[in-house]
Amino acid sequence: MERRRAGYEDVVVAVPVSIPYVRYSTRGAHWFVARALRALLEGSGLGKADLEGLCLSSFTLAPDTAVGVTQHLGLSLRWLDHIPMGGASAIVALRRALRAVASGDAAIVACVAADTNHVDTFRATLGSFSQFARDAVYPYGSGGPNASFAFLTAYYMRVFGARREDFGKLCIAQRENALRYAHALFKMPLTIQEYLNARPIAEPLRLFDCVMPCAGAEAFLVMSRARAQDLGVSFANVLATIERHNSFPEDPIQMRGGWLLDREELFAQAGVVRRDIDFLQTYDDYPVISAMQMEDLGFCGKGEAPQFIREHSLTTDGTFPVNTSGGQLSVGQAGAAGGFLGMTEAIRQVTGAAQGTAVANARIGLVSGFGMINYDRGLCCGAAILAGPKA
């Protein structure tokens, strides 16, 4: 039986905000949340009291959750959500907020991802990331996500014949994009020699395969189309969204994600085909997972991403623009904000606000999310198709 889900016709996303990243910060996560909220208000002309809902994602709020943040920042809300889904948090936050606004539970919802990064934050996060991580991952070399993605990368390379050069091409294209993005922490071009000869981290991964943790925030607003028009802000339409958690638990190792289960529904709901997609924002903490998203979203077949990468140019002016701001690999991974980076960039792209990274005539973009390596694989997958006013 065909499942029919309600669409998002009357609700829009607006005011994409990116708080500049820093490698380390002495501030708390609340500082970054506050800064993102201020930027949302300044960008929309709203007052704090106009925010009726907050959907928050952060790894470094502890001991607080979103609840503590309401009092910390003096927010009186009628709708509150906390999305601990890392790289999938933007997609999931968007989905929750869209329904909240559409149903009238909240008129305007701020979706915020913010994390700080003290010198020891990342290490401290790893050991207590999940029960399985503490019991069955961290005691084995304490390599963190580098080790987890090393297994996936090694397996993928062996089974599908991917070469380091293929992943290198993706990383280098993203770096080129990042050079046009003001907030990127990486400011120097990357050559294939530098990529291939970088110091080994967890074989076969080397330095430039791995994201750099940092501090920062990303945010956007969800509201009714009418309200956005009243405020006079640019907005993007949401054509379709999907999410899946713990898909394919019987697979011995993760070579596919939940996108595969819902991708036809995603494109059907959006009423578009792959050709219509002007750019792709993947969750890219390691290049292998970007390759898997290209495959599982249907831009190429399983195992064909290396060939797909060889055949396309992936820069903002290329035949298949990917991670147009530079992605996390070249901008930095600001904790949960890393899950929002592609979303805010996609909103900018389709609303003509992307400036240096603008893809020419970008009308429709696909944002993909992937998050939470709980034990041996990422559990949360999601995607959204956004369209600008020209679409």
Partner: protein, 421 residues
């Protein structure tokens, strides 16, 4: 199998002795089931009796049918190495000191995918491997993938040629061993067994050295063996040997014991019981106070760090054997103290190994029917237990049977022992 390594270089005395760091030791309670099995040298996983699912990591319920009645069952560990990595970077200080570090993902034939340390003898993925469970320096279970070619009894040699995984066992090879009582048949068998296992030096303790035994003189002729004065009932004697040898002992075998049969009614007075407690319980306390702190300081002292403290207890420590009641009580006291010592030594990664043999074939068990364990068999089992990295050793059939009965129901065992079974 690759060749066992040559002798390690002598330590440069000018270099700082490394502070013993431990790998991450935090575990959920349910995950400690893996550790409990590894302490006995077993690899067990949670199995769902309702649907037969074998699962890992450990969970509170069956992930397939949500049954809550999970049992831990021994597994063969056979599987395929499906992917691997070599870490060059770690977020943990213990591993940082030991880079590079090889890890693998193993799909067990029985279902689950395991993340495991990879032994250096394992070929490049994909290949067949076998998972074994050992205790790491933090005393927690660590899964290790070894080459499927090895026989399971070859744990020692297998580990010995991997410099990292040597830390998860207590191999006597190239180590210095103190046997606290060299005068007994067991003490001499232990001394010989450690020499045979490649120990650098074996010091054999000798109380009342004016009363030498023929056997000890014979053992002393072995090149690696030195007889030293040690009376565990005498604080000064323990202290003086601790001052002389403490900083050199890598493995301490506390085998000194007094054993007199009878319970309460058959022997009047407290003399025999006092003597048992003085050696079996207070002897351990005296040794622990003189040798414990310095062994803790040497928990990460290179290839031949201080690694193990072995206590000769008895299955009677678990439940009183009434016809040997005062002896049972002294061993129960020693067992309790050994658990305290284990907790204290854990911070330095020095393993406290408790040995629970059934009756030895000696004069104090003369009236007990066989099977009884020979000194040679027990000595061999202790050396192998160290090589395998076992923490609680139940050597031989009698001990294994007691263990099974005790694990099944301590109360039933108590009743059986009360009527002499």
């Amino acid at each position: 199998m690759s060749e066992t390594p040559g002798r390690p270089k002598r330590k440069n005395p000018l270099l700082r002795t490394r502070v013993p760091l431990l790998p991450p030791r935090g575990r959920s309670r349910v995950a400690l089931g893996l550790t409990a099995a590894a302490a006995l040298g077993r690899f067990e996983l949670q199995v769902c009796p309702e649907c037969g699912t074998v699962q890992y990591p450990p969970r509170e319920a069956c992930h397939r049918c949500l049954s809550l009645d999970l049992v831990w069952q021994a597994q063969s560990g056979e599987g395929e190495l499906i992917s691997e990595t070599v870490l060059h970077h770690s977020h943990d200080l213990y591993f940082r000191d030991r880079m590079p570090w090889r890890l693998g993902m193993v799909r067990l034939d029985c279902g689950p995918t395991l993340l495991a340390h990879l032994h250096c003898g394992v070929a490049v993925a994909p290949c067949r491997v076998r998972i074994v469970a050992r205790l790491d320096k933090a005393g927690q279970a660590a899964l290790i993938a070894v080459s499927g070619r090895f026989d399971i009894c070859e744990g020692a040699a297998e580990m010995a040629d991997d410099i990292h995984l040597r830390e998860m066992t207590c191999d006597p090879r190239c180590r210095k061993v103190l046997v606290t009582d060299g005068k007994t048949a067991l003490g001499q068998a232990l001394t010989r067994a450690f020499v045979a296992a490649g120990a650098d030096i074996v010091w054999a303790g000798c109380a009342e050295p004016w009363k030498r035994s023929a056997g000890l003189e014979e053992v002393e002729r072995l090149e690696a063996v030195t007889v030293v004065p040690l009376d565990v009932t005498n604080g000064d004697s323990v202290k003086s040997l601790g001052a002389a040898l403490g900083a050199k002992v890598d493995i301490l075998i506390n085998n000194a014991e007094v054993h007199r049969p009878y319970g309460i009614a058959a022997r009047y007075g407290t003399e025999a019981a006092r003597s048992e407690m003085d050696v079996n319980y207070l002897g351990l306390l005296r040794l622990a106070q003189e040798f414990g702190p310095v062994m803790r300081a040497r928990g990460a002292d290179g290839y031949s760090s201080a690694t193990a403290w072995v206590n000769l207890l008895s299955v009677y420590a678990l439940s009183s054997f009434p016809t040997h009641g005062t002896y049972s009580a002294s061993k129960a006291a020693a067992y309790s103290l050994a658990q305290c010592l284990r907790a204290e030594m854990q911070s330095a990664g020095v393993r406290v190994v408790n040995v629970f043999p059934g009756p030895l074939d000696d004069e104090w068990n003369q009236e007990l029917p066989p099977p009884k364990m020979s000194a040679q068999a027990l000595a061999k089992a202790i050396v192998k237990g160290l090589q395998d990295g076992v923490e609680d050793l139940f050597p031989g059939e009698v001990a294994q049977e007691w263990l099974a009965r005790w694990l099944e129901d301590p109360k039933i065992l108590e009743r059986e022992l009360a009527i002499g079974r």
